[in-house]
Amino acid sequence: MSGHGSGRVERLLEGLAAGDRTAISEALNLVDDRRSEQRQAALELLDGLATRPLPHAPYRVGITGAPGAGKSSLLNALVEKLRASDAGIGIIAVDPSSQRSGGALLGDRMRLSGGARESGVFLRSMAARDRLGGLADATQAGATVLSSVFEWVFIETVGIGQSECEVAQLVDTLVFVAQPGAGDTLQFMKAGILELPDIFVVNKADTGPAAERTRGELESTLGLTASPEPGDWRPPVLLASAQDRQGIDTLLDALAEHRDQGLKSGRLEARRQSGEQAFAVDSLARRYGEYGLERIGGAQAVAQRLAAPGPRSIFAVVLELGREIERAVKPG
């Protein structure tokens, strides 16, 4: 790899390999940076990460659902459990940006209790910026960075319809957190994204029978829409209470099961690949626009070249395609 910031990239790669938190943070800053030479360096970094063997098998979990459903609390409960086994955990928490100012208030979400706050869980919050769906620009790249260091990578994002689609593309398992009350299910059905989550959790089961009712409703709604092929994953609907730490083990079991099944069936691999491809197309389109993509044959053709198997990482391909576009649009 040659390029602008390669010294820095080498240094970051080393730091990441050593699990150095300052390097993680700097890498996340880099993949978030819009300046053109930084973008270049970011792709080099991602390529470097993609092409080197990892000492662990990272697993990415998306947690989505309406504000206040208890996503952060549930995540906290999961983290507590996982920390008991010393697992490395990285979290990306995405919050909406203000439409008006472009600014964002992050935080007020990590209800990490004392233990988890102190135990070295890595948390980066990101603002959704101009992405309508609610996912930060740099989420995919950020998740790649965190995956290179931690076994568990969680992405918490506010469920506002579109964002489920986006987060589904970049995680191995998508968990939807609902709270008791019919409103949620209805909203969810209206949004038309019932197919996306792999696991449903009705949280706040401690508040009474409404939780069980909501679970029933969700189950029957799911039963109507999804008629799975044999061997297909059938999304379970679980009950939990983040507050009373109930149902956390069951959720962890369901995660493990989904992961194992995905690994066996090859679905996980396919999903990761298509997620990366979507990211790549997106990233090129955002940088060079429709017009730029047209120069090298349009989105379709780009997608095809990205999908073609090869020794290089998708990030390297993106770099190369970018250069091609630049050559094509530059006069003379």
Binding site: R21, T22, I24, S25, E26, L28, N29, D32, D33, R34, R35, Q38, P67, G68, D95, S98, R100, S101, G102, G103, A104, L105, L106, G107, D108, R109, M110, R111, S113, G114, R117, E118, F122, L123, R124, S125, A127, R129, Q243
Partner: protein, 662 residues
């Protein structure tokens, strides 16, 4: 004696108090006795932050805080010293204590028993209002449900055993200090009272027929701002609404039980750092507001001091506030007349308007499941943050006049502040060391087995649902410490972090100034490659969140990305968060007086983490001398209350981040 002895109608003066306590039990005892000697008629105890949040003076989190903003009370000997030579059967003591109210009441009861005074002779108040801690005051520890249970334990216990005690003082005071409008102050306080009363009513050990007595023991603690006519009407409206609630929701008809009893501390939020002597006048007018109407007159009054925004008051400063009350009560003819507003259409109409708006707001909170739900879902907190944003904005734009601040700013040199930091009380750092020494001596002198057994008794209560008071009083006698008691509760109940309310708070209105900064932020984003990101951090036990909240909201509104995780974080947590989050600048907000220790700690840790080039700015109550020292230690900029123009601060932020990026 009033000046006109012919009048028979004369009302008795309200109870005159001063909120005080600092350094040590011994020093505070001396202060109390001298205050009583100069005509104060009741005591109002300020505890230090470790005591309020359940830490012993030797705990790591207590460092720099011991004896600062109140008196440290770790065990029964401290409590006994605090009231040495003050006969508790004749004293009326108000204690501003909440999360650990049950424990401090247990210590007080035990100390009284040592004096030979039995519980049924005790008079006074435990503030014991946890809901407003989540919303404003910040010294909560445990989750809402567990906290409400303890509140109701104290209520049930005192109604039976300490019948002259006010077990809870529902505070709307702190809500106004966090920005509440009069309507919010009324409605949220009533919702709070309903949450407590409902919890007490649901208990098996409180028979239906005592509910009237319970209702009658609930008192309130109100604020009184500078719009004193409106404040008079607010007090009248609350009197009416309380009666309504009692009759309609709780079926009480005994007029004595329905009486709205309240004390007041007048507004401090509006007291200025600029031309601080003007505060003397503000304080007097505010005191007038809550004493003017006989039918809705306060029963006790505390006044802040003229130097409120500078730092802690010295004895002379408190004396001036005391004299202000005494002039009002004993010199003027205020107490000689029946209610001045009887038949006033104007006052009636304004009262009615407040009342009807407050009823609506109360209904809204009750419909979302009551005050506890409205804490957890951040409804009330967010509403306060939004009201406060509007208040600050009105001052910034000059729509709300504050004399000496945004109007009539020119001033001659004030002799009151000529000596710089000598115009406030400075607590000697040796206070902490000596307190810790006493604590260690106390621990080694007690019978550990007895203490341990008593503590087990407390834990058993928590688990089997018995009232926590009797076991706590036994623990007090057995030499259990504040930290041990609270740790036991932390273990059983867990700790809680309340929502900050800023997340989706509606922010500032667009203005020319804001737009201009926003444009600069956009330009800076281009240079940085991403939006400027700021961490607003509140290290230590300090619960003053207003400043941090408003800075956070404003920074978002000018286009920055803001990380704000609420109060009471350790320097270590703040530095970890600064690093993980990749921020461009760290802003610390500290008002409790522990800035010197905490800011240095953060600076050192940042350097150790290789983040020494991230600029640090600090805001809060920072006396000039300390500010100079902090600047020398590397703080980029320091802000105090006189820097009320948030837009200007945002402009500075752009400069600071821009410079650091170069």
């Amino acid at each position: 004696m009033p000046n006109n002895p012919k009048l028979e109608q004369t009302d008795r003066p309200w109870m005159i108090r001063t909120y005080s306590g600092h350094s040590s039990a011994q020093a505070s005892n001396a202060l109390y006795r001298s205050n009583l000697a100069s005509g104060q008629t009741g005591l109002s105890v300020a505890f230090d932050l470790p005591t309020q949040t359940g830490y012993d003076s030797d705990h790591a989190l207590a460092r720099g805080e011991v004896g600062k903003v109140g008196v440290p009370i770790c065990h029964i000997d401290d409590m006994a010293t605090l009231f040495d030579q003050i006969p508790l059967d004749r004293m009326n003591t108000s204690m501003t204590i909440n999360a650990t109210a049950a424990w401090l009441l247990a210590l007080y009861t035990a100390a009284a028993e040592r004096q030979g005074v039995s519980p049924d002779q005790l008079q006074g108040t435990t503030q014991n209002d946890i809901i407003k801690e989540y919303l404003s005051r910040g010294t909560y520890v445990f989750p809402p449900e567990a906290s409400i249970r303890m509140t109701s334990d104290v209520v049930a216990y005192t109604v039976a055993e300490i019948p002259k005690w006010n077990p809870i003082n529902i505070c709307s005071y702190h809500l106004q200090e966090a920005g509440a409008t009069p309507v919010q102050e009324i409605a949220f306080a009533m919702a709070n009272a309903v949450a407590v009363l409902d919890a007490v009513r649901a208990r098996d050990d409180v028979p239906e027929e005592t509910l009237g007595r319970v209702f009658g023991r609930i008192s309130f603690f109100l604020n009184a701002g500078i719009r004193f006519v409106e404040e008079t009407c607010k007090c009248r409206a609350m009197t009416a609404l309380w009666g309504e609630l009692g009759r309609e929701r709780y079926g009480i008809d005994d007029a004595r039980m329905l009486r709205f009893r309240y004390g007041v501390q007048v507004n401090s939020l509006g007291l200025s750092e600029a031309q601080p002597e003007n505060n003397i006048v503000r304080i007097a007018l505010e005191a007038l507001g809550v004493t003017l109407s006989r039918d809705a007159r306060t029963r006790s009054l505390q006044l802040p001091a003229w130097n409120e925004a500078l730092g802690l008051p010295r004895p002379w400063d408190q004396q001036l506030s005391l004299r202000t009350q005494q002039i009002l009560a004993y010199e003027t003819d205020l107490l000689e007349y029946p209610d001045l507003f009887e038949g006033s259409h104007v006052v009636e109409a304004l009262t009615e308007e407040l009342l009807s708006d407050a009823r609506g707001e109360l209904q809204k909170v009750l419909e979302m499941g009551g005050a506890v739900s409205a804490v957890e879902n951040a409804y009330m907190k967010q509403a306060l943050v939004e009201s406060h944003t509007l208040r600050i904005q009105a001052i910034e734009r000059g729509e709300q006049s504050v004399v000496g601040v945004n109007r009539f700013e020119e001033t001659a040199d004030s002799p009151l502040t000529a000596d710089g930091d000598a115009s406030i009380l400075k607590v000697d750092d040796s206070a902490e060391r000596e307190q810790v020494e006493r604590l260690l001596a106390f621990r080694s002198g007690r019978n550990d087995d007895e203490a341990k057994a008593a503590l087990q008794g407390v834990e058993d209560c928590l688990k089997n649902g018995d009232n926590i008071m009797p076991a706590s009083i036994r623990a007090a006698h057995a030499g259990v410490t504040t930290g041990e008691w609270a740790d036991t509760l932390r273990r059983v109940f867990g700790e809680y972090r309340a929502p900050t309310g800023v997340g989706s708070a509606r922010g500032t209105l667009a203005s020319e100034g804001t737009e201009a900064v926003r444009t600069r932020v956009d330009a800076l984003s281009e240079t940085l490659g991403r939006r400027p990101k700021i961490l607003v951090g509140k290290p230590g036990l300090d619960g003053h969140s207003n400043g941090a909240e408003q800075i956070a909201v404003k920074a978002r509104d000018v286009g920055m990305e803001v990380v704000y995780d609420g109060i009471r974080l350790t320097p270590e947590e703040i530095v970890q968060s600064a690093r993980d989050e990749g921020v461009h600048v760290v802003g610390l907000s500290i008002l409790s007086g522990s800035h010197s220790v905490l800011v240095r700690d953060v600076l050192e840790r940042l350097t150790k983490e290789g983040l020494g080039d991230v600029p640090v700015i600090v805001g809060g109550i920072i006396p000039d001398d300390d500010a100079a020292a902090l600047r020398a230690a590397g703080v980029a900029r320091i802000y105090t209350p006189k820097d009320f123009d948030l837009t200007r601060i945002m402009g500075d932020l752009v400069d600071i981040v821009g410079e650091a990026a170069r």
